[in-house]
């Protein structure tokens, strides 16, 4: 177990997290008794080999999924006890994502993609905020471009703008540079950490890239579903 802050200061905390899935009639444990506590404003890396359970842990911490056993608190709410809709409300208020495969909507322009979370919350200033963040990630000339007209690095920058635009308390990034070449990956990582710093966001970064993990204040290593360091 890695504890980097007092439990009281933690914006994100998990106890005894276990995730089991049914596979061909048998129960398969993909995450076993994980405890974690992350302080407000901290950047934490979750590292491990492929199949070690990193992405599963991220899903549970972000309230995208529920554990088989164990509890998760996010910004004071025990989200593991919440139903899907209650967790959605927490996500809308407090969580942002950056995905490995960018996850932009093909039929929306860069601007519209960034506006989406704010539209979801029914905010009317969505457009101005979105333009501001796209300028911040250096895409002010590409507002009307569709994802297919953007390079991989540009798409990930749009995704980062989208994540920060809703000013989340916690940003979850799942292998954000995994689909990019080294040079672009570096630029994206720089951008992510810069924005994280500017916005005082808590960052949970899943990666198998040791150099990226080293840029975080702390890291948790998983192997075969259990925390080993």
């Amino acid at each position: 177990m890695t504890t980097t802050a007092n439990d009281n200061d933690a914006i994100l905390r998990a106890e005894d997290l276990t995730k089991e899935v049914e596979f061909e009639g048998a129960s398969l444990t993909i995450l076993r008794d994980v405890d974690i506590s992350i302080a407000r404003g901290e950047a934490v890396a979750i590292v491990g080999e492929s199949g070690s359970g990193k992405t599963t842990l991220l899903g549970l911490l972000a309230g995208l999924d529920v554990p088989t056993r164990g509890r998760v608190w996010l910004d004071g709410d025990e989200i593991s006890a919440f139903n899907e809709d209650e967790r959605a409300q927490v996500r809308a208020r407090a969580v942002g994502f950056v995905f490995q495969t960018f996850q932009l909507i093909d039929s929306l322009t860069a601007l519209e993609n960034v506006m989406l979370p704010a539209e979801l919350r029914g905010e009317r200033t969505a457009r101005e905020d979105a333009i501001r963040y796209l300028e911040r990630v250096g895409l002010d000339q590409r507002l009307k471009h569709y994802p297919r007209q953007l390079s991989g690095g540009e798409q990930q920058r749009v995704a980062i703008a989208r994540a920060f635009c809703s000013e989340p308390l916690v940003l979850f990034a799942d292998e954000p540079t995994g689909n990019l070449d080294t040079k672009t990956g570096h630029h994206i990582a720089d951008l992510l950490f810069e924005l994280n710093h500017e916005n005082q966001t808590t960052l949970v970064l899943v990666t198998h890239d040791r150099s990226l993990a080293e840029r975080c204040q702390s890291s948790t290593e998983l192997a075969a579903g259990a925390v080993i360091a």
Binding site: D65, D85, A88, A92, R93, Q103
Partner: protein
């Protein structure tokens, strides 16, 4: 790729549900088409068979000249069954009392008469009738009840026809091919052709009607017609449609309806196949990319794709044929067991509809599914490395050429008409262009509105905008489906209403002729007491001889360019104190009852044709007297549309004061009062009665069948329409899965997303409904006016139905088919749901 590999792919695709929709679409296309064609084929055969009762055959050759033996020989050589009928008028006498005689309509038939339908006979004069398959033997004669009464003879007595003496062995009340010519108005006598010679009534100059009845199949008749065509001068080749105008029209219009309905079902099924094939192909770009990186050559991929298509085709078509046959047999069972319990069995199906189903399946598959599959071949192996890598793609020219050629081929083959196909296609292209533009405008408008709306609607409208290309397509498809359904429903309603109007439940079933003035009161009382509907009118023969003093022939010559009924021809005239029912005075005034003035009321169109005006003086010759009468008014009336006698000329009663009159009545007598009718006829044996009840019942049964078939076609087309709807919603499923997961990871609640989904489909449906309404109004105008020759009128109900159908169906189908997607946990986004 080898067959095993293809089979493996199909199996894994089947397990993952990838192939379901394509297979279902194909199966439904084949099922719909084969069940429609099977049902139409058999129902049409049944209807034609039923209707052929009116001819007593499938075809007949009629003439006033004897039918040459060569005709009979030609028909027999082709395997056609023939039967000769000779009809003439002759006096019939009682052998025991030669003072008792009457003019009869004699029909001399061969042993196999009638070839279609059955005779109705009675055990005693005016008694209850039953069907029989027998006919008189040579030397015997059957007569109508009235003749037995008039001649005062009984069964077993001898009667004379010309020089022949025949034994009376039966009482005939009706036969299938009873006509309405003057030769058929007298009481019926049925005898054998073998006895004609003995009667010696056939002399040069005698008025004789020769008929050769024929039974066989359509193809053989075409051959026979071609063989005889050159020699048919002076002979009338008649088919069922000629025998009764109502049946002919009903059959022809039903055929048009089946054609429209069937073509639409094919088109809808094609669209469903194209949509599902497209989705299937899109989801397999990775698959093919991987195969290519592993070294599969394009040719191998092509064979693989073709193999896959053919396998899908075989399975889909087999399932479709099975489903089509099941629907068909269910329908036939329903029709014969529940609806038309009293009709003869439905003829067996032919192989043609099965072939239609198979060919339709393959054409649909290759025209609509091949282009997206060909797209797969051009997938670059780079797609595996970079998913956003744009593949070269099959040019849209090839795609559209394939689809259009396929549609054209199918429709031409299906309808057998180039012009119908071209018009239908042009209509669809125009509709697509107009609908597309309308959809884009509506979507844009929606986006602007969405900016001001609450969050569910805002999200729904932005959802609509997000998939604007797909949505334009969906609006076109939905509106086409809704429009087609409304058109079919309305055309069906018009058809059925028109048929029913032609034959209301109390259509007169008896016509009485030769009612004398003395018998008039008796008939009038009978009508009042027992008939639910009736019209009794005086009939006089007369003709116009002069107009304002100018001899009518001279006047006619001055207007030689006029077409229509001649002014100088003999006409039937009547009198009335009141405006006849269903007539309307459109110019001048009706006379006051009991007027002593010599006046006439003229039918408006006839007056217009011949330039007759109010106050013109017409001179009539009526039974040897010439009367000058002044035109008092013009009347408008609908010929043939009401159950009553109609006249060009109607006079005040005073005009006929000195002329002996004869009356006719047209009445509806319910079955329970037939005995009273028999008593009326027995009391007044000189009256002639024609029983059209059986004919009307036959017409009604044919119309019931056609109506049934039309309704079933509507249901089948509706199924295809629903499938297209589902296929097009399924086509947007992948992008929706990704989007919902993303929206939910961003904190969208299930309620919000479901609400916005429903709102999105509702809006989509309402837009489609609006477009469909406009399209339906336009198309109905064209179809009803040009194809079915109805009068067009706008229908407010389409406006209600369009929005209800559009909003309701699209919203519920959309909601039901996508609500499962919302249930997928948002964690799928991390597993790359895209």
């Amino acid at each position: 790729m080898n067959l095993r590999l293809i089979l493996n792919f199909i199996l894994s695709d089947w397990r993952s549900g990838e192939l379901h929709l394509l297979l279902i679409a194909l199966a439904i296309a084949v099922g719909t088409v084969s069940s429609i064609t099977l049902t139409v084929d058999r129902l049409q055969k049944a209807m034609t068979k039923e209707a052929s009762v009116f001819l007593g055959a499938d075809r007949s050759i009629n003439s006033r000249k004897a039918i040459p033996d060569a005709f009979v020989q030609e028909a027999v050589n082709r395997g056609i069954t023939t039967s000769s009928v000779v009809a003439f008028n002759s006096m019939v006498l009682s052998s025991s009392d030669n003072t008792k005689s009457h003019l009869a309509s004699v029909k001399a038939v061969e042993g196999n008469y009638p070839l279609r339908g059955k005779l109705r006979v009675a055990e005693e004069p005016f008694g209850a009738t039953t069907e029989t398959t027998e006919i008189p033997k040579p030397g015997e004669i059957w007569m109508n009840s009235r003749l037995l009464y008039i001649l005062d003879v009984e069964l077993g007595d001898e009667v004379e026809v010309g020089y022949a003496t025949l034994t009376l062995t039966g009482i005939i009340e009706s036969e299938p091919d009873r006509g309405f010519s003057m030769l058929d108005l007298s009481p019926r006598v049925l005898m054998r052709a073998e006895d004609i010679e003995a009667t010696q009534v056939i002399q040069p100059g005698s008025q004789i009607d020769y008929r050769l009845l024929l039974v066989g199949d359509d193809a053989t008749f075409r051959g026979l017609y071609q063989a005889l065509e050159a020699d048919l001068e002076g002979y009338r080749w008649r088919n069922v449609k000629d025998s009764d105008a109502r049946i002919g029209r009903a059959l022809e219009r039903a055929e048009s309806f089946f054609l429209i309905g069937g073509s639409m079902a094919v088109l809808l099924a094609g669209v469903a196949i194209a949509l599902s094939a497209n989705r299937y192909a899109r989801r397999h770009f990775d698959h093919v990319g991987i195969l290519k990186t592993l070294g599969a050559r394009p040719r191998a991929v092509l064979w693989g794709c073709l193999g896959l298509l053919i396998l899908i085709g075989v399975i889909g078509i087999a399932v479709g044929l099975f489903a089509g046959a099941t629907i068909h047999f269910g329908l036939v069972w329903y029709l014969t067991e529940r609806v038309l319990t009293n009709v003869a069995e439905i003829p067996p199906a032919s192989i043609a509809p099965i072939l239609t189903g198979i060919v339709t399946g393959f054409i649909c598959l290759f025209a609509f599914a091949l282009p997206p599959f060909l797209d797969l071949i051009s997938v670059s192996p780079l797609h595996v490395i970079r998913r956003d890598f744009r593949r070269a793609g099959v040019s849209s020219l090839i795609t559209y050429t394939c689809a259009i050629t396929g549609i054209l081929g199918l429709l031409i083959w299906y309808s057998g008409s180039w012009s119908f196909t071209l018009w239908l296609l042009l209509g669809i292209v125009a509709v697509t262009l107009i609908f597309g533009t309308a959809a884009i405008v509506l979507l844009r408008g929606g986006r602007l509105l969405g900016m001001q709306a609450g969050s569910v609607w805002r999200l729904a409208l932005s959802g609509l905008q997000r998939r604007n290309v797909e949505n334009t397509g969906q609006i076109i498809v939905f509106s086409l489906v809704i429009m087609l359904l409304m058109i079919l429903y309305l055309v069906r309603t018009s058809l059925v209403e028109e048929w029913q109007e032609q034959l209301p439940a109390d259509t007169p079933n008896h016509v009485l002729f030769n009612i004398s003035a003395a018998q008039r009161d008796d008939v009038e009382q009978f009508i009042e007491k027992y008939a639910t509907e009736g019209d009794l009118a005086a009939f006089y023969d007369g003709r116009v001889v002069a107009l304002n003093g100018t001899p009518v022939r001279e006047y006619q010559r001055s207007r030689s360019n006029v077409a229509g009924p001649r002014l100088s021809s003999g006409r039937q005239l009547t009198w009335s104190d009141e405006v006849p029912a269903n007539n309307e005075v459109v110019d001048g005034e009706w006379w006051s009852p009991g007027t002593e003035e010599l006046l006439v009321s003229v039918e408006r169109d006839y007056a217009l044709t011949w330039g007759l005006n109010i106050d013109d003086i017409l001179s009539f010759r009526i039974q040897g007297q010439v009367l000058d009468v002044r035109i008092a008014n013009l009347r408008a009336l609908e010929w043939n549309e009401n159950a009553q006698f109609n006249f060009f000329f109607v006079f005040p009663p005073r005009v006929f004061a000195d002329i002996p009159s004869s009356y006719r009545a047209m009445i509806y007598v319910p079955d329970e009062h037939r005995a009273e009718l028999s008593q009326l006829i027995a009391r007044n044996p000189t009256m002639t009665v024609i029983d059209v009840d059986s004919i009307i019942k036959q017409v009604q049964s044919v119309i019931d069948r056609v109506t049934m078939a039309v309704e079933w076609i509507l249901i089948l087309v509706l199924t295809s329409g629903a499938l297209v709807l589902l296929a097009s919603i399924q086509a947007s499923r992948d992008s929706r899965i990704k989007e919902h997961a993303l929206l939910r990871s961003m904190g969208g609640t299930k309620k919000l997303i479901l609400g916005s989904l429903t709102a999105e489909f509702l809006l989509l449906g309402l837009m489609a409904g609006l477009v469909a309404i406009v399209g339906a109004e336009l198309s109905l105008y064209l179809i009803e006016k040009e194809l079915l020759e109805f009068e067009y009128a706008t229908r407010p109900e389409i406006w209600v139905a369009g929005f209800l159908l559009g909003g309701g169906i699209v919203a519920s189908v959309g909601y039901l088919s996508t609500r499962k997607l919302v249930r997928l946990p948002p964690v799928t986004i991390l597993r790359d749901a895209g």
